[in-house]
Symmetry: C2
Subunit: 203 residues, 2 copies
Amino acid sequence: MSEKKEAIKQNAIDLFYKKGYFATSIGDIARPTGIRKSSIYYHYQNKEDILFDILKTTMLDLDRSLEEHIEGVDDPEQKMRSAITSHIIFHIERQKEVIISDSELRGLSLENYKAITKMRDKYEHKFQALIKNGIQKQVFVDYDFKIISYGILTMCTAVALWFRPKGRLPKREIAEMYTDFIIDGLKKKHDRQRSSASKKGRG
Amino acid sequence: MSEKKEAIKQNAIDLFYKKGYFATSIGDIARPTGIRKSSIYYHYQNKEDILFDILKTTMLDLDRSLEEHIEGVDDPEQKMRSAITSHIIFHIERQKEVIISDSELRGLSLENYKAITKMRDKYEHKFQALIKNGIQKQVFVDYDFKIISYGILTMCTAVALWFRPKGRLPKREIAEMYTDFIIDGLKKKHDRQRSSASKKGRG
DNA sequence: GTCTATAGATGGATAGAC
DNA sequence: GTCTATCCATCTATAGAC
């Protein structure tokens, strides 16, 4: 990808994050790039094409981060810890892009929408497999693994919404706190059981 | 509020939820209401006014639900349980409106934006007070109560994003599962401590 | 309270010169 | 690869009749 195209993409990320996709015009993107709006069309087919480029790259990088973090880890608890850490750190470091990914899917055509949600679903399934594995190995409480995976992922995804680079706590500490909280909620305690009567007798 | 105005509001909710605020035109809202787009302006000053009406009502109702749920409950754990239940059930029953509330704040002028975020902040502070109280009474682990409150709230807020009325589990069961998970993660265990070395020595 | 008609502005996208 | 110029569609909002 050419340097100019990269610049357009980065300016689009800044603007889609700050103003939203629909409220950002091609002219808005062209201005900080130092070119006229018509020149954008030399690099991208249309406005949606820019959005799609951002979303696709983000999903690919997110997935790669997960794979790198869990590679070679066998213990179910440690593997889940690594996965959560990867997710949180990525959502802090790529704050703008993941917020766009979570809020601007409506800007995509049906075809592109399907492509992105397919990637997202595959990513989510990897998390669900980790939880399912922990439950089967009797390390985790037998929650409904799909429902609980939504909760865990969204809780970590939302870090991107409130994290401030100059905030009180460093990213590693936030990632550790959330990982502790989640693993503590997931782990089976051998001296006691869940207090609620809603516990399921699956498996 | 007149019946016609209510109808306009409800159609706006449906459309803002499905297409987004910026992608919805005044004409789109007028059509299912059975009037022409110019007639909308008899009931509302402008497009933003409709959005603001929706957001304000939603925040007021959300806050009232919380107050009703925790009223008269004294035990810190039970109070937190009631608060979480209120939040989840509301986000399931008012799915469309809360999703609009979480994604369309950019459609507001600065003044209206401040009014809504002020209400939201007050609501969040009530949750933080519950967690803080539980920590002080030594019922909850001494996590950073602000950071952990973000995680808890967003995890429950996100239920609105994936919940399907005809889905596998009824709303009460989902609320119970999440409440168990969160309380379990929050509660102090008298026979063991957090495994991580990151535990803070505040208080 | 709703209508028709239209002002007034903006934005995505293309044509064609350089 | 970038420019100027422009087409065309769309949208918010208002004016004024009924």
